[in-house]
């Protein structure tokens, strides 16, 4: 089946070694930050066990089918002599829309790299700080003299949160560029430099060989922890916190969006990576079993290891409040806090974050290859020149994301627009090209060429109808439910008014809330997030009556006790306006970058790619030449 030259017969041991090597390589490639940091937070915040229904639906309807379609189209494009997403898609469909989808898939990994490398640097910084004993000292000082467990937990989590805010620049824009942020800046430089040095020297396969050992080590560590966690007394409570389903959440489109976004992010589908790497395969290399094996290894890390360890452990050690945090909160505040309660936490924490850094490094390395391939084949640059050009572009994009770090505003917005808008458009375009332009039958025939596992029956129907419909339904839900909030979040004047109004609302609720809710006058008002729906509606109605329906509060109509808060309200409006301006600016930059990438894709196609594709004629009737 394969055109492999005759070889010396191997011993059984060599043969088994090479098989295990394949499994380790696939497992090594699968591990990333999305598994251990992103998935648990998404699951616990989106319905616990109920989240697994949209998650598994997304895996079966989007993840696996799109993965196969990317591997197949990539290998097909490679036969036509092109490797970048615009080249591969243009080889299949000579149409400007193919350049648009290809340009989008070229841009996405570059933008993801720009912020992912920052999070990668956090992992390195945390690893160094753990090994250095900084966390041990920090938690030791925070809990000195305390005996009550609740106080200890509160102080440890507080200290960990404070560390995260300071070290990762969450408290102030530009913090990592100050003297106190120089350690983090150094880690950013090391991470950035390591990526480009490895890809410049062409040793990404070398790092992969290292990861064949290191990543299974990370998985082995996680398995050991899992065994320990599952044998802890009371673990049922922690597992219940993670896995008990909150069924009403299934009616919330955001939950379905979050599940689909998680699948795209952790499987690296929908943004051109696999398209590029598969283009370097030989025409009869397997793509079906390779794709499925990579997916299953990823799911093992994500669902079995991260799903059973992170949140249940956080719940056991730190309680419900701390186990239900954001992705970054769980990964960089809760997990370091847990290490304090573990024997050898200093070394274990260092090892954990060090291996996570390595996992992140393998992910970011692969994000660079599509753009390098594009510069090489589209503009005739050598690899060295391509790496330098790409290094300058990604540095220019990463610096503002690192600078505007307060509340991770730039990172959060970049992640949102990339993961919840652009990947959908890119993946939808790719699936439509596979199912309707290349044609499902021809696509399946191409996928099955040299396949050790043939595509299941019904895949053609799935990729033509079910997958695009699911993508479009999820996308339309997103556009109607989620997008308006993010669009409003980019309007500085509106955000300023809302921030000012929040000051008045807080004061009004604290003073009048107990009366509105018929509580005893001396009773402390409930937190607004703890109110029932009826109570929240009642409070909203009272606040609207007091402050007016518009976000813009008419100060002259307020009672004196509220009017005197005007300076405080004005002061809170300014940072909100700045944050909104940053978010809006970032969105405009992303759109501009997309436009530039699509134009460049078109130019590159006319300039060189069309000739390359023409020089590699279709291998079988029906493979159209442009």
């Amino acid at each position: 089946m394969n055109d492999v030259s005759p070889q010396t017969p191997r011993t059984d041991r060599e043969n088994w070694g090479s098989k295990i090597g394949v499994i380790l390589a696939v497992a090594g490639s699968a591990v990333g930050l999305g598994n251990f940091l992103r998935f648990p937070g998404e699951a616990v915040n989106n319905g616990g066990g109920a989240f697994m229904i949209p998650y598994i639906a997304s895996l079966l309807i989007l993840g696996i089918p799109i993965c196969w379609c990317e591997w197949t189209m990539g290998r097909l494009g490679g036969r036509r002599g092109v490797n970048s997403p615009p080249g591969v898609l243009s080889a299949i469909w000579n149409h400007p829309l193919a350049r648009f989808v290809g340009g989008l898939q070229l841009m996405l990994p570059v933008v993801i790299y720009m912020y992912y490398v920052f999070v990668e640097a956090w992992c390195l910084y945390y690893a160094v700080q753990f090994f250095d004993g900084a966390f041990e000292n920090l938690f030791g000082q925070a809990t000195e003299g305390l005996t009550d467990h609740d106080d200890v937990v509160r102080n440890v989590v507080g200290a960990s949160g404070g560390f995260f805010e300071t070290a990762c620049g969450q408290g102030e824009n530009g913090a990592i560029f100050t003297l106190t942020g120089r350690g983090m800046l150094l880690c950013v430089a090391v991470s950035f430099g390591a990526n480009f040095l490895l890809i410049y020297r062409g040793v990404s396969r070398g790092i992969e060989a290292f990861c064949k050992v290191a990543m299974p080590l990370l998985i082995g560590c996680a398995v050991l922890i899992l065994i320990r966690v599952l044998t802890l007394p009371g673990i049922s409570a922690g597992l219940g916190f993670m896995w008990n389903p909150d069924w009403p959440k299934l009616a919330d489109p955001n939950v379905w969006l979050a599940a689909a976004g998680q699948i795209f992010f952790s499987l690296s589908v929908g943004f051109g990576l696999i398209l590029t790497y598969a283009s370097y395969l030989r025409s009869d290399d397997d793509v079906v079993l390779s794709g499925l094996s990579a997916t299953s290894a990823n799911e093992l890390c994500e669902v079995v290891l991260a799903g059973l360890i992170v949140v249940p452990t956080a719940f056991l050690f730190l309680g419900a409040e701390n186990a239900k945090g954001s992705t970054f909160g769980l990964g960089f505040v809760t997990l370091p806090s847990i290490m304090h309660f573990m024997p050898g936490g200093r070394w274990f924490g260092g090892l954990w974050f060090g291996l996570l850094w390595l996992g992140a490094l393998t992910s970011t390395l692969s994000m660079l290859q599509p753009a390098i391939a594009f510069l090489e084949e589209g503009f005739g640059l050598r690899r060295r020149a391509s790496v330098i050009v790409l290094g300058l572009i990604t540095l220019a994009g990463a610096l503002p994301i690192m600078y505007f770090s307060k509340n991770a505003i730039a990172l959060d917005h970049a992640d949102f627009w990339v993961n919840q808008l652009m990947i959908y458009i890119g993946a939808t375009g790719q699936v439509l090209i596979f199912g309707w332009v290349l044609g499902a039958h021809r696509g399946i025939r191409e996928a099955n060429r040299g396949a050790e596992l043939r595509l299941p029956r019904g895949y053609g129907f799935f990729i033509r109808y079910i997958t695009p419909t699911f993508l479009i339904v999820v996308f339309v839900s997103w556009a109607t439910v989620h997008a308006p909030d993010y669009v409003r979040g980019m309007i500085p004047s509106l955000q300023g008014k809302l921030a000012a109004r929040a000051v008045y609302e807080k004061a009004a609720y604290e003073k009048l809330g107990p009366a509105w809710l018929d509580l005893a006058p001396a009773a402390a008002p409930l937190a607004r997030t703890d109110l029932s729906d009826e109570q929240a509606d009642l409070v909203d109605a009272q606040l609207t009556e007091l402050l007016g329906p518009s976000p813009d509060v008419r100060v002259d109509r307020l009672p004196d006790w509220l009017r005197k808060l005007e300076p405080e309200a004005t002061a809170s409006a300014e940072p909100a306006e700045t944050q909104a301006a940053i978010a809006g600016g970032l969105f405009v930059c992303l759109i501009l970058l997309l436009a530039i990438t699509v134009i460049l894709s078109h130019v590159a196609y006319r300039h060189r790619m069309a000739r390359i594709i023409a020089a590699h004629p279709a291998a079988e009737p029906g493979e159209d030449s442009p």
Binding site: M1, N2, V4, N15, S18, K19, V22, I23, A25, G28, G49, A50, M52, Y55, H149, S204, R205, E208, G234, S236, A237, G238, L239, G240, F241, M242, W243, N244, S268, L273, Y277, A278, Y280, D285, L289, S290, S293, T295, S296, A297, E299, L300, V303, V304, F315, L316, F317, G319, A320, F341, M342, P343, T362, L365, S366, I372, E376, R382, R383, E452
Partner: protein, 70 residues
């Protein structure tokens, strides 16, 4: 590894796994383990999988030596 005070605090804080929670956990974990076992079995059954199965970073991009190209 974990102090009794902590456990006491935790034990009162949640009810543990409900039947639906058990079902979701076992179903999800079981499905993933079955998928992994299927893939590993298929890989181990192949005579020389290293010759035609690849993980992304394991793939040679053939463009890493500028000198050779020239």
């Amino acid at each position: 590894m974990i102090r009794p005070a902590c456990m006491a605090a935790v034990m009162g804080a949640a009810d543990g796994l409900t039947p639906a929670g058990w079902a979701m956990m076992i179903g999800s974990v079981g499905m993933v383990l079955a998928l992994c076992a299927f893939c590993i079995r298929r890989v181990l059954r192949e005579p020389h999988p290293e010759e035609y199965m690849h993980a992304p970073l394991d793939i040679d991009t053939h463009d890493t030596n500028d000198d050779e190209e020239s």
